[in-house]
Structure formats: C-alpha cells, structure tokens
Amino acid sequence: MSVTTPIPRASSWLAASSLAQRIGSVALFVAVWQIAADAVGSRLLPSASAVCVALIQECVNGPLLFHLGITLARVAAAFTIAMVVGTAVGIVMGRSRTLDALFDSWLVLLLNLPALVVIVLAYVWFGLTEAAAIGAVAVNKIPNTAVTLREGARALDRNYSDMAASFHVGRWRTLRHVIMPQLYPYVFAAARSGLALVWKIVLIVELLGMSNGVGFEIQLYFQQFDVTRILAYTIAFVAVIQLIEWAIFQPLERRAGRWRQ
C-alpha cells in the first residue's frame, strides 16, 4: 500500500502540469501572433483579437455554423465509409494470402494516388454531386485504413481463434469478442490518422466543386483577400476536430484498453 499511494498523486500532478504546459504553449502562440500582427500592421496578417471578433460575429450573425455543420456531416460520412470499407478490406487481405497477393499492387497504387487526382476524376466522372465529393474523400482514406488493418489481421493470435472454434463460439460472437478486441489498437490508429486526413481533403473537395461548407467559404474569402475570416473559419474548424478527438476518440480508446490497467 505504501508503494501504491504516491502513484495517483504523481500522475494527477503530472496531468495538471501537462495541462498547464499546454495552456502556456497556446498562450505563447497567441502572443507571438499578436506581436507579429502589430509589427506588420497589414490587413493580410490580422491580429488574434480581430480574428476572435470575426469568429464571434460569424457564429452569431453569419453562416459559419451552417457551413461548419455541412462540412462536419461530409467528414462524418466520408470517415465512416472509409473506416468500414478499409477495415473490411484490410481484414480480408490480412487473412487470405491469395487475395493479398492479388490486390496488394492495387493498394500500393491507391496509396500513391494524389488526393487531387481522385477528386478531379470523381467530379469528371460522376458530376459535382454530394456522392462524388464524399466518395472521393473516402477513396483517399480507404487504402490507408486497409494497410493498417491488414497488419492487425496478420498479427491475430491463432490460439484465441482455436479456443473459440473448439468451443463452437459462433462466427458473430467470435468476431465481436475474440477478433475485434485484438484489432482495436489498429482501428484507433487508422481512425486518428483518418480524421486528420479526411477533414483536410473535405475542404479541398468543397473548394473545387461544392457550393457550401467551410472549404467553399474559404475560397470565397480567398477571392476577397479576407484573411481575417479565413482564419476565423480555420480556427473554428480546428477546434471542433480537436474536440472530437478529446470527447470521442480518447474516451473510446480508454474504454477499449481498460483491461490493461
């Protein structure tokens, strides 16, 4: 007992100090920005306070929340498709040597295909539609997810599958209780990098062919050289994505890994 008591205290102290460090780091960034903006004194580098004011205005009176919502819906759709399809493809390729040999070069090709090419081709072939936009984003992420999950599927422990088979645990229960828990670390790795990739590509898709969403708005303000509003939209979006990471991904990951404690 005497050994275990200091540990929680130390870890909570560490957590508090890392939070303080984080806040300090952000404050430093804002300070540098403010000083630089004051020194330059141009509307092409607006001050942090000006951007903050614009952000509040756009939220309250402007269409920021509407466009943010549209973009988030596209991110969610593309992300879900990419994770589901990529996970399925990855598991199948990891389990079957034949299919892996057959489709490995396809994966390599897709992995090296520039996002822009996929988007342009999707718009050319399928028109400037919502489905083409979301599909193009998903296709950019699928090979990534598939490669990660293929690694996971290759690392599955045969001993557990044999146990499940000898006790006649059904297919669905085996997948849920025996296979998926071994793949969770890979799913989370793919989801993390997936979210980061998907939201950036969604903006490009919107900029190139949609008439709403954050990407569309940024293009609009780009034409007006309105850097203040571009930054306001960017900050709002980055904050939401970070919130998703904190409020959804991290708790889920902790929950999946609670047996390790």
Partner: protein
C-alpha cells in the same frame, strides 16, 4: 453403450514448411474411450499428443483417419471442452465474460456463477485475466471447459510449469469437479505420476510418429492414491514392463513441449 470417443488416425503429416522438414506426427494411432472414463495419454515430448487432441477437438481436419464422438443428451452433437496448455483466456474480457462466451447467450448467468463458486473464484468474477495469478487463470480455464457440460473433456498438459503446491491443488480441484460432474476425460501428460494419480487408464504413446504402445488400466483404488509410495511402485512397474516399448524418452520428462 457407444464409446464416447472412437479415434483412428492412420496418418497425420505436417507438410514441408519454411525451414522445417516434412514431419510424420502420428501413424496408426487408435483409441477408444468408454463414456465416463478418465484416460491419461502419456508419451514423450514431441510424440504428437497435442496434435492428436487438436484432431479430436476438430481443430485439425487435415489428417487421414476417422474420429467419431458419441452424441450427447437427446442426440445433440457432442460437446467438447478443451483445457489448453496455457489458459487461453481473453485478456480483454472479465473472468465472467470469458466463461459466458462459450455458453448460449441466454441463461449463462445461472451456469457461470455456480461454476465460479465451484472453483473458488466467486470473488474474481469481474477481474480481467492479467490481474489473476497463474493458478487462478488455470482454474478459470478448467471452469470454462466444465461450464459447457462437456461430453468429452480434453486436457493438454494443463498443469505444466506450475509450482508443486499449485499443481496439487489443481489436481484435487479437477477430481472434485469430475466427481461432481462426471464426464469422459482425455488427459494428455508426459508425467507418469500425474497420470497415475488422476486416471482410470493409461495409454502410452511411442515417440514420433505417435502410436499406442501400451494400454494399462490403473487398478489402484482412488482413495489409496494419496500415498506417494503406491504411485511410485506402480510407476516403476509400468516403466519396467514398457521401457523397451516407449524408449528412454518417457523417463526424461521435459517440462515444456
């Protein structure tokens, strides 16, 4: 009554794998076990004991021969419980969930909790396997196999690499469970003393390719097996009679296969 298990493995070969020669693991291994009998399969390391169990369990279908299990109650397919050499508990599921996994979803609770009680682990119900001691993990693994009310219980050296006291406790527990929930047992070991303490009958295997070289009923009454001297005398007798058959390997019992 039909034997619980009839197995004739004419041949089990491992094909040439990367860096390994093709290997003939079993050749002409025949075994019948009447319902309710506790059989110990004894043989040197590497003689194909685990291979044989995997064939009986239906995990390995790539062999020449037949395996027939007598159906269970009211003609349902035979249930096979398997206690592996390592406990093979899912570390991400609690003790309770590990056992419930092998049971039908409805009514699992009424089976798992009494089972945990029976192996003295009611208090560990909601722990995760990494939190258990080695002895406790083995208990859970045994409880899982008994929980399905198996028609045939396969045990693959379940007590290797444990300290002496733990092994004693686990053996007592196994016999207690078996008396309370009688079933047919096929228990693999390389330890002749262990086999003599537990089994009704010893089946001795040759070195690879494995086949049966001797089939010895254990006549010593169960209540007299406490005495190490009696077991020792029997063991010497069996070794003397079958030494030429099983070779010196059976003597040199290696702890890990």
């Amino acid at each position: 009554m039909r034997p619980a298990l009839i197995a004739h493995v004419r041949e089990k070969r491992y094909p040439r794998a990367r860096g390994a020669k093709p290997h003939l693991a079993l050749a002409g291994l025949s075994l019948e076990i009447p319902a309710g009998e506790f059989v110990a399969l004894v043989g040197p390391s590497g003689c194909g004991k685990t291979t044989f169990l995997n064939i009986v369990a239906g995990l390995d279908r790539d062999f020449a021969g037949e395996v027939a299990l007598a159906p269970g109650h009211e003609g349902r397919p035979a249930r096979v419980g398997y206690v592996f050499q390592e406990p093979r508990l899912l570390p991400w599921r609690t003790v309770y969930e590990n056992i419930a996994l092998v049971l039908p979803a409805s009514g699992a609770e009424g089976i798992v909790d009494p089972m945990l009680q029976a192996v003295g682990l009611a208090g560990a119900r909601d722990l995760y396997p990494p939190q258990l001691s080695v002895g406790m993990s083995r208990r859970v693994s045994i409880a899982r196999a008994f929980a399905i009310e198996p028609d045939l219980l396969l045990m693959d050296e379940p007590f290797v690499s444990l300290d002496h006291d733990t092994v004693e406790q686990l053996r007592d527990l196994l016999l207690k469970l078996w008396h309370a929930r009688p079933t047919t047992v096929l228990f693999v070991t390389h330890d002749m003393r262990e086999a003599l303490v537990l089994a009704d009958r010893l089946v001795l295997l040759s070195a690879a390719p494995g086949h049966v070289v001797a089939d010895v009923p254990v006549s010593l009454a169960r209540n007299r097996r406490e005495s190490g001297a009696e077991i020792e005398r029997l063991r010497d007798e069996i070794l003397r009679r079958h030494r030429e058959l099983i070779g010196a390997e059976a003597e040199a019992a290696t702890p890990v296969e």
